[in-house]
Symmetry: C2
Subunit: 361 residues, 2 copies
């Protein structure tokens, strides 16, 4: 059905297999820092107009690949599509973040929640299939979802938050309600990701963007346990091909050792984590993805190259022989800033490829 | 000059000495969640009107002690007084955070920076002396400052930030400028805290509120190194009495072992850190302060008591014999929310005292 993969460096590194260079892709690589993205978005009229239109979503997903030798593409979509399909009414006001018209703040609202009909998310699966075809085997396509806890944050807060007061109030005062919501979210996310895999996604990533705001103990019970519930339901392969599973908890560095027990292939790390130490803790069990500070991209070329070197050297030389071993997927520690000069991304991608090839010699 | 200390539980715990209960105070304990604070602030007209008026600052500092059996008072002030005295023009617009009229964004602006004349901060030292007198030995008074890095964040950004783009751009592209600014900040903070000690502060705390946004490596060079530079200049005692020094890095849990080498008495921890693990790592060298999630205060009384128990049990029984050993100062992991019901703070403080007394039996 699809063209064979020409560059499988990313997939191999995810699965702990040797590669000739360290693969690199960037969270939010199809985004506002690219003038061609802004042009397509202007045509689409709005963020959701862009995400729900198969042609536009395909166009913007491929844009960064035209500029940079990235080793993976990631579906252009939003982490909040699932609660939108649950009927919460997602919108994006200009200059602001996402908003839900119907936040979930009491038992009656939780009672109404259910795993949504995947038909309501058909625009996502259509985009996956369209992008996979358009990629034509160039690089693999990553599908994704927000984690159950991260979805719950937005579902309760109704928008972004700087203190997570409402969602944590529910967590501490009505843990029973929170657990019910998280179970539904986990089952919905698992179904959503499996349907993305059937539609053509060659790897999947769970973004636990707000796991790091939880207290020790609460993280394990309210975030990690439900990420595990998603992973337990995910397809390991599709049509005989392995589908790597990536978990990224922003601010989760303190729980890395515990996350080593998750049934996934890759752990994503933000820039606060020392990659060498992470490799010692979990590198024998998982590939590691990350973790340069996106603000490095505001420096000049020699400084970007020096910071790339620090990250690569911190991980050390990846596994190079037969079988599997510690491997590294280079990425930012968070989404790329909309203010990033596009030419600096080229410097970063080239530095990762050149330096990581050199390290293997 | 001052009345003798009647309750020195906090000071003893800071210094690793045995206490009959775990002392407790709360970051931002004199704040907007208290109706009496809001009344005084209304009289003062503005936040800085409150902070610069000795009588008002004394009044609000003592307010939470009237309601709760807290074991320490903390100077009512702001972490940004030092850059204000450097001429950056601090203001607080209603409903917004702090703002600087003259942010520091280029070499010319850094060239103009210098350790400010402490005369410009006289309102702070007058408040310290006035509060110390008004406390009349009831509990000790903590003085404080922002850390060199945290001050630099505000000085460059000119306000709060969610991505620290401007300050990190300077850090990555002009590390020389950033180091110059941080040296000046460190020397200014040291002088500021020493002058607070001379004015009557019985302990001092360095708030590294934004240390946790730095990448591994950058934290050590741009935050911790300058906290160390402050500590190296701080008075260890005043008039023959030891002055405990507390360092709190929000989001710094990953660097706890390295922070164990800092020349201070106490490390403050946020709620992401497992206290038991922290005790294993650094408890033999430092007292630990923290770390309940302030959002616990939105639950009801039995749940607050249960969460207090978790934090106390996570630390375990503190040192109880002669000499010094692992000790715990109970606190929130961050400032108290303005939306906190005041009666819930009473539940927390009583639970800490009662449960920690019980644990020692």
């Amino acid at each position: 059905m699809y063209a064979p993969l020409q560059n499988d460096t990313f997939i191999r590194a995810c699965l702990g297999q040797a590669t000739e260079h360290t693969p690199v892709w960037l969270m939010r690589q199809a985004g506002r820092y690219l003038p061609e993205y802004r042009a397509t978005r202007a045509k689409a009229g709005s963020f959701m107009g862009l995400a729900t239109n198969t042609d536009f979503a395909t166009e913007v997903t491929l844009q960064p690949l035209e500029r940079y030798a990235l080793d993976a593409a990631i579906l252009f979509s939003d982490i909040l599509t699932v609660p939108d399909a649950m009927g919460l009414g997602l919108s994006f006001a200009t200059g602001e973040g996402p908003k839900f018209a119907n936040p979930v703040r009491d038992e009656a609202a939780v009672d109404k929640l259910a795993v949504p009909d995947m038909g309501k998310l058909r625009y996502v699966f259509d985009a996956v299939t369209s992008i996979r075809k358009a990629l034509n085997g160039r690089v693999p396509l990553i599908g994704f979802s927000g984690s159950p806890w991260t979805l719950a944050c937005y579902m309760v807060e109704g928008a972004g938050s700087d203190d997570y007061r409402l969602v944590k109030t529910m967590l501490y005062s009505r843990p029973d309600l929170m657990h019910r919501m998280l179970q539904i979210n986990a089952d919905a996310v698992a179904l959503y990701l499996n349907t993305q895999i059937e539609a053509g996604a060659q790897a999947v990533m769970i973004f636990d963007s707000w796991g790091g705001v939880l207290a020790d103990g609460a993280f394990q019970s309210f975030s990690m346990a439900y990420t595990a519930r998603v992973l337990a339901q995910l397809k390991r392969e599709h049509q005989g091909v392995r589908i790597p599973r990536i978990v990224f908890t922003k601010g989760g560095g303190l729980w890395l050792e515990e996350m080593g027990a998750l049934d996934c292939d890759v752990l994503g790390l933000d820039w606060t984590v020392n990659l060498g130490r992470a490799r010692q803790l979990v590198g024998h069990k998982k590939a590691l993805q990350g973790n340069i500070d996106p603000n490095v991209l505001f420096a000049n070329a020699p400084q970007i190259e020096a910071e790339v070197a620090k990250v690569l050297q911190s991980f050390g030389t990846p596994h190079q022989g037969g079988g599997t071993g510690p491997t590294h997927v280079f990425n930012l520690g968070h989404g790329i800033s909309q203010y990033t000069p596009p030419e600096n991304v080229a410097v970063l991608v080239e530095a990762v490829h050149a330096q990581s090839r050199h390290m293997r010699k």
